[in-house]
């Protein structure tokens, strides 16, 4: 059962209450599931938060994860975006503080430009660049910037949404 691992993006609508994040994180640790990333934010309804969890495991484990999440009383809706068979958009935001002295300054700025990053902070020795994109783009940008020397890195984790008219909402 170990070999066949899949990466899944699961979107949830949950009650915006204290302790809900702990319940979900606790479920993953108690049942030995993996969390690759987890993001939370309020929706248009202030009583509801949307959570995006990226997880990895055998398809049967993924199925269990979805069922166990649904079982939590404060979880309103769960959708395995990878499973529904529709296309989805995924994005992540990352802030990278790189060494930017001498030649690396120009190099870092070029990389920022190629990946449509924004330079959000400048100092004599460093540049801080913001990138948004899917995993491949973010990874590619980070890899190239390693040449310049990355001082600090902060990633948000993924958010994702189905393409087209279908959406995750409370019925």
């Amino acid at each position: 059962m170990k070999e066949e691992r899949e990466k899944h993006i699961i979107a949830l609508l949950v009650e915006n209450k204290p302790g809900v994040l702990a319940r979900i994180a606790g479920l993953f640790s108690a049942k030995n599931y993996n969390i690759l990333s987890l993001t939370v934010g309020e929706t248009t309804d202030p009583e509801v938060s949307r959570m995006t969890i990226v997880t990895e495991g055998h398809p049967l484990i993924i199925e269990q994860i979805v069922k166990q999440l649904r079982k939590l009383i404060d979880v309103i809706k769960v959708m395995d975006l990878t499973e529904v068979g529709e296309k989805y958009v995924e994005r992540e935001l990352v802030l990278v503080k790189v060494n930017a002295k001498g030649e690396s300054r120009a190099e870092a700025m070029r990389i920022a430009q190629i990946f449509r990053g924004n330079i959000v902070d400048v100092s004599p020795d460093t540049l801080t660049i913001e990138f948004t994109g899917n995993e491949e783009k973010i990874e590619a940008a980070i890899n190239l910037l390693k040449e310049c020397g990355i001082r600090e890195l902060a990633r948000t984790g993924k958010v994702a949404m189905l393409r087209g008219t279908k959406s995750l909402k409370i019925s």
Partner: protein, 585 residues
């Protein structure tokens, strides 16, 4: 009507129909206890001597009635002492509502005296839990707690009440209904799945039913019996299911799994259709999962979608309440008129009967020493299935499961999932509180009973006539058995023959104590105990190294059972010469 939180608490419980609360007071719930004086005519409180026992008692109450049991304890250690009880009821899906006191909201997080984050601690072992943030929310929270505990797959719910919430004031109106948008258990089975299941039943040649605790929680025993009798199919029950189908029925195979009967385990192994109802494919049942009913089509009826295809992948899942889904199955079966069920299964039933006859549960009785299995047979004979049998955990539990005829649902109360030693006695207190006029027996081990023996004071105080039958072999017997069979007979730290004189200990609590050491006196002693009006402790000295058999080694396939004790003659001699129990004088 404006009420104080401590009044709202009791008013809400009364409106939930709570008859009895098991609890132990402390600082954080002192005002709730103070207010109790006003409500004592309408609701009974049983003061336990340890908070773990309060939850087990509430659990026993719930298991024997189907209604939520209630425990009330203070903050900090009072709350943490409930954790084993809560985890026990969680594993066996028992509806228990536990109220814990908490330090005032202004002190939460300050490491205040007797502060513990009990909501955090119990998050993974409750169905849901709450901390009440204001007196206004108290009634609604209590309503939700009971609703969540008893609906869907039942389970424990904890409500943490800070002291200022119970002393604060709010407008009281008990909600009439509950709506939780994220919680809507599915009750009715999907009609298409029901049809598919019936198709599978119609075409099966060797079907078997594997049913469990879900039958009890759904009150689905009549439907189960009807199904069995219509389609003529043998039934194996899990430990939690015992009593959900009459133990003296000819289609009953016995318990399946690690200590299951040969017939039950072989029927499941050889069947071509497994009808699983209210069960969760626990490892103690399945043994090696890949081998479990390997060639069978599997139907799984369960209220909890997460139970389905968790351990064993099933072909026809039906999510719903067992009673409702079984009724749907029965309706659908009535449409299929042309099946001669008996003819269809005749060959299979013959084979199963052969297994039952060839390898029944057995043991070698003795005139010298009391065999534990014999104790169970005598208990069974004396009570005829009418008594509530509670157990602790270990060898005695398995013998009670195997050798007592469990005829009626909700009469066998045991910790299956968590396997909590110390469960039986306090659970029996809860059962007795719910059924004051019925015979309630706790079959205990000498190890288990010492884990909650302080409750002798509780049965004395309320004159709860629980009969505690200690199957005393001076060992942590199940562990010793594993050591004998799988760990080179090194009995590492399992000899507990240094033990109190249980008769005198009972007497010290003011409870009647009896002892049986010879087979000839057993029936007389047990009869005397069961006829006694008050609580009794019976210390039964049994064969020290008797084993629970059959046995499937952990992780093994259930088709490979150890049927006979693998002992040499020298071993037998050594056991015979083993020292008798040694009491400190």
């Amino acid at each position: 009507m404006r009420l104080k939180g401590f009044e709202i608490f009791w008013e809400s419980l009364i409106r939930e129909g709570v008859e009895v609360v098991f609890g132990l007071p402390g600082g954080a719930v002192i005002s709730i206890y103070h207010a109790y004086a006003k409500y004592r005519d309408r609701i009974k409180h049983i003061l336990v001597r340890h908070e773990q026992a309060a939850v087990h008692a509430a659990d026993g109450y719930a298991r024997s009635t189907g209604r939520p049991g209630v425990a009330l304890v203070t903050s900090g250690p009072g709350a943490t002492n409930t954790v084993t009880g809560i985890a026990t009821s969680y594993m066996d899906s028992s509806p228990v509502v536990v109220f814990t006191g908490q330090v005032p909201t202004s002190l939460i997080g300050m490491d205040a005296f007797q502060e513990a984050d009990i909501v955090g601690i119990t998050r993974p072992c409750t169905k849901h839990n709450y901390i009440v943030k204001s007196t206004e929310e108290l009634a609604k929270t209590i309503k939700e707690a009971f609703y969540i505990a008893r609906t869907g797959r039942p389970g424990p719910v904890l409500v943490d009440i800070p002291r200022d919430v119970s002393t604060g004031e709010a407008e009281f109106e008990y909600p009439e209904s509950v709506y939780i948008r994220s919680y809507n258990p599915n009750i009715k089975g999907h009609p298409y799945q029901v049809k598919k299941a019936v198709d599978a039943i119609v075409s099966a040649k060797r079907p078997v039913i594997y049913a469990g605790g879900g039958i009890n929680w759904a009150n689905a025993y009549d439907e189960l019996k009807m199904l069995v009798e219509i389609i003529q199919v043998p039934v194996a029950l899990t430990l939690m299911g015992l009593g959900a189908f009459p133990g003296d029925h000819e289609l009953f195979l016995g318990m399946l799994g690690m200590h299951g009967t040969y017939a039950a385990n072989m029927a499941v192994t050889e069947c071509d259709l497994l009808i699983a109802i209210g069960v969760r494919f626990d490892d103690r049942v399945t043994g090696k999962v890949d081998d479990f009913a390997r060639d069978a089509i599997k139907i799984h009826i369960d209220i909890d979608p997460a139970s389905i295809s968790k351990n064993v992948i099933v072909d026809i899942p039906i999510v719903g309440d067992a009673k409702v889904v079984l009724s749907q199955l029965l309706d659908e079966l009535r449409e299929r008129k042309n099946v001669n069920w008996y003819e269809k299964h005749k060959e299979w039933l013959e084979r199963v009967k052969e297994w039952k006859k060839k390898y029944p549960l057995k043991y070698e009785n003795s005139d010298e020493v009391i065999k534990p299995q014999y104790v169970m047979e005598v208990v069974s004979e004396l009570t005829q299935g009418n008594a509530y049998i509670c157990t602790d955990v270990g060898q005695h539990q398995m013998w009670a499961a195997q050798f007592i005829k469990h005829k009626y649902p909700r009469h066998f109360i045991t910790s299956g999932g968590l396997g909590t030693m110390g469960f039986g006695f306090p659970a029996a207190i809860g059962v007795q509180a719910a059924h004051p006029d019925d015979l309630v027996i706790d079959i205990a081990g000498d190890g288990s009973i010492q884990m909650n023996i302080q409750e002798l004071a509780t049965v004395k105080q309320y004159n709860l006539p629980v009969k505690v039958v200690i199957i005393n072999n001076g060992y942590l017997g199940m562990v010793r058995q594993w050591q004998e069979l799988f760990f080179d007979r090194v009995y590492s730290e399992t000899d507990i023959s240094v033990q109190p004189d249980f008769v005198r200990l009972a007497e010290a609590y003011g409870v009647k104590g009896l002892r049986a050491t010879k087979p000839a006196e057993l029936e007389k002693v047990l009869t005397e105990a069961f006829e006694h009006k008050g609580p009794v402790v019976v210390d039964v000295h049994v064969d020290r190294e008797e084993n629970v058999l059959p046995m499937v080694p952990a992780g093994g396939s259930i088709r490979n059972m150890i049927l006979a004790p693998p002992r040499t003659k020298e071993e037998d001699d050594r056991i015979k010469e083993a020292k008798p129990l040694d009491f400190p004088s």
